[in-house]
């Protein structure tokens, strides 16, 4: 096929992503002329909804932003509010929050690997088709997803939009018996998670090395999830409070989600970034397993993100087992809260990458202003950059159907959560 032909590919509704987005691509004389990841889902306006609400309502409100990663929204929010109020948080609360967060990583990653991403690499249109040929792999994915959901429910009462998290801790501590039962199930699933890592590393992933900037949290003693400093592989090392001085959000006409740039350049957040920057903090069992993989980290191949997700499932399972092993029931599961006026910042590692929150609160703990920067909007500029590089490397001589599939695979590889991203829009109205 002629690689200089005019190409016009439109994917009006992207399949196997969370939310509604489209792709527009035009190429002429062997060059990509225009490439847009068009996000048209209506803005969600959550930052505005939060204004005037009491701090105690925030965890349940922000959980509604996403059905897949509600825990991440709750964790960044409570962390920010507790910082503003200068509330001391006990080790028990910190550990149990991390355990709950492990549940979200397990369920979200298991869903993405098996139902959204893997069909691309195995030549299927859907997970349903894939299940007929690879039933054991899909069953393993569904079982891991269910286990992650159980871990969220243990602390949150339910897995979708959980309600157990509050500023200061948890509304209620789970019973020792419930924790013991789930701990047994988590331990029993470890071999499955180990097999999953090998399975993803054995997939025929495209060879597509690229230059990109990885950004993630880094903690001084653990693999990042609940807290840390913001670091990059280009030398960034800042406190989360300094985010606004280094990262800039901007609006483009074709998207209802904001773009974000680090020092005016696109950057990557998510499992591949985390692993590239923090592999030294993975549990020893995971590091040992990684030595025998045909894929090594840090990696410049974006398609290795599926292996990074599997490694993080195994890591999260081990972490949850460790954190729940010596569980002690706490009758008082939350700190006493005394509202103070001020500004608080929170940043945690959602399954898809860093989720940054800022709240301005008054003396009664009412929200004056809020700002939420979700991972998908941070990845948007990088996705478009990746599409340019990936499609050019793949070759524009491929058929429209092949180019379309490759482009969709590139986008899906980021596990974009479009519904999370579309929550802000500035309108400019010209009046005569």
């Amino acid at each position: 096929m002629n690689d200089k032909r005019d190409i016009r590919i439109q994917v009006p509704v992207l399949a196997r992503v969370e939310g509604e987005g489209a792709l527009e691509l035009t190429a002429r004389d062997g060059q990509i002329e225009q490439l847009r990841l068009r996000i048209f889902e209506p803005p969600r306006l959550f930052e505005k909804f939060l204004e005037g609400h009491n701090f105690s309502e925030v965890p349940d409100m922000v959980a509604r932003i996403c059905g897949i990663c509600p825990v991440a929204y709750q964790m960044s929010a409570v962390q920010a509010i507790e910082q503003a109020f200068m509330t001391p948080i006990s080790d028990w609360v910190r550990s149990m929050r991390r355990a709950m967060y492990c549940g979200e990583w397990i369920q979200s990653h298991a869903l993405h690997i098996h139902l959204l991403a893997a069909p691309d690499f195995l030549g299927f249109n859907s997970a349903i088709q894939m299940a007929e040929v690879y039933p054991e792999a899909v069953q393993r994915g569904l079982q891991l997803q269910a286990l992650g959901n159980k871990l969220i429910s243990l602390f949150g009462g339910r897995s979708v939009h959980p309600v157990g998290v509050c500023v200061g801790g948890f509304h209620q501590a789970p019973s020792s018996e419930a924790v013991e039962n789930l701990h047994r199930e988590l331990e029993a699933a470890l071999p499955q998670a180990e097999q999953l890592v090998y399975w993803t590393a054995g997939l025929a992933l495209p060879d597509d090395e690229q230059d990109f900037v990885s950004v993630a949290l880094r903690h001084d003693s653990e693999y990042p999830m609940y807290s840390g400093r913001l670091v990059s592989d280009t030398g960034l090392d800042i406190a989360i409070e300094e985010y606004e001085q280094h990262f800039r959000e901007l609006q483009v006409p074709h998207s209802t989600a904001l773009y974000a740039l680090l020092h005016d350049e696109p950057y990557l957040v998510g499992p591949l970034s985390r692993l590239n920057l923090n592999r030294d903090y993975l549990p020893s069992e995971v590091q040992k397993l990684m030595e025998s993989l045909p894929v090594s980290f840090p990696s410049r191949n974006m398609f290795h993100a599926i292996v990074a997700r599997a490694i993080e499932i195994y890591t999260a399972l081990l972490e949850a087992c460790r954190l729940l092993a010596d569980y002690e029931y706490q009758a008082q599961s939350a700190e006493f809260i005394e509202p103070k006026p001020g500004i608080g910042y929170g940043c945690t590692e959602a399954p898809r990458g860093i989720l940054w929150h800022r709240y301005d609160l008054d003396e009664d703990g009412m929200v004056l202003k809020s700002r939420i920067v979700p991972p998908t909007s941070q990845n948007q500029a990088r996705i478009e950059e990746d599409l340019h590089q990936s499609l050019t490397a793949y070759g524009l001589q491929h058929t429209d159907a092949e180019l379309r599939l490759r482009a969709e695979s590139v986008i899906r590889n980021y596990d974009p959560c479009i519904s999370c991203a579309t929550h802000f829009l500035k309108l400019k109205v010209d009046r005569e």
Partner: protein, 155 residues
């Protein structure tokens, strides 16, 4: 093998509450006997996606309750088998996995319960308003007859 799972699917809004309201109704009726029948399990789910496959695993019979939009007038009872759900799945939603996708996935994995039906009421053209108490009771009674729950001693 556990026996019967009755799942109310929905959200807290408008007509979509139907599945949850029917579960509340069934729970109230079975609580009257102060001895919940052990062979039945009642659960409420909020847009479960693919997690529905694991939820259904191990049951002989599953009844899914949901508000549906099939082009009929509001309040029309709807009963669909697994085959009918899979056959009629237009798969137009971009929001990942719906109920029909989950049932198709369970079928591909040969993990469907022996008996599975989806029952509910058509929302007609209005999704904003919840169904009446009368509608909820009517559907609850039909489900009790369908599953044999009404024959459990004491109800």
């Amino acid at each position: 093998m556990k026996k019967v799972l009755i799942v109310g699917i929905g959200s807290p809004f408008g007509a979509d509450q139907l599945g949850w309201q029917v579960i509340d109704e069934l729970q109230q009726r079975t609580q009257i006997i102060e001895r919940p029948p052990q062979q039945y399990e009642l659960v409420k789910l909020d847009r479960p996606g693919a997690a529905l496959v694991e939820t259904m695993r191990g049951y002989e019979q599953v009844i899914l309750i949901d508000a549906v939009q099939s082009g009929q007038s509001r309040g029309t009872p709807v009963v669909l088998t697994a085959d009918e759900i899979i056959r009629n799945n237009s798969n137009l939603s971009s929001h990942g996995f719906g109920i029909a996708d989950s049932i198709a996935l369970a079928s591909a994995l040969q993990q469907l319960p022996d008996k599975l039906i989806l029952t509910g009421l058509d929302i007609g053209s209005i999704s904003e308003y919840a169904f009446t108490k009368q509608d909820v009771i009517g559907l609850g009674v039909r489900i009790m007859q369908l599953t044999g729950l009404n024959n459990v001693e004491g109800t």
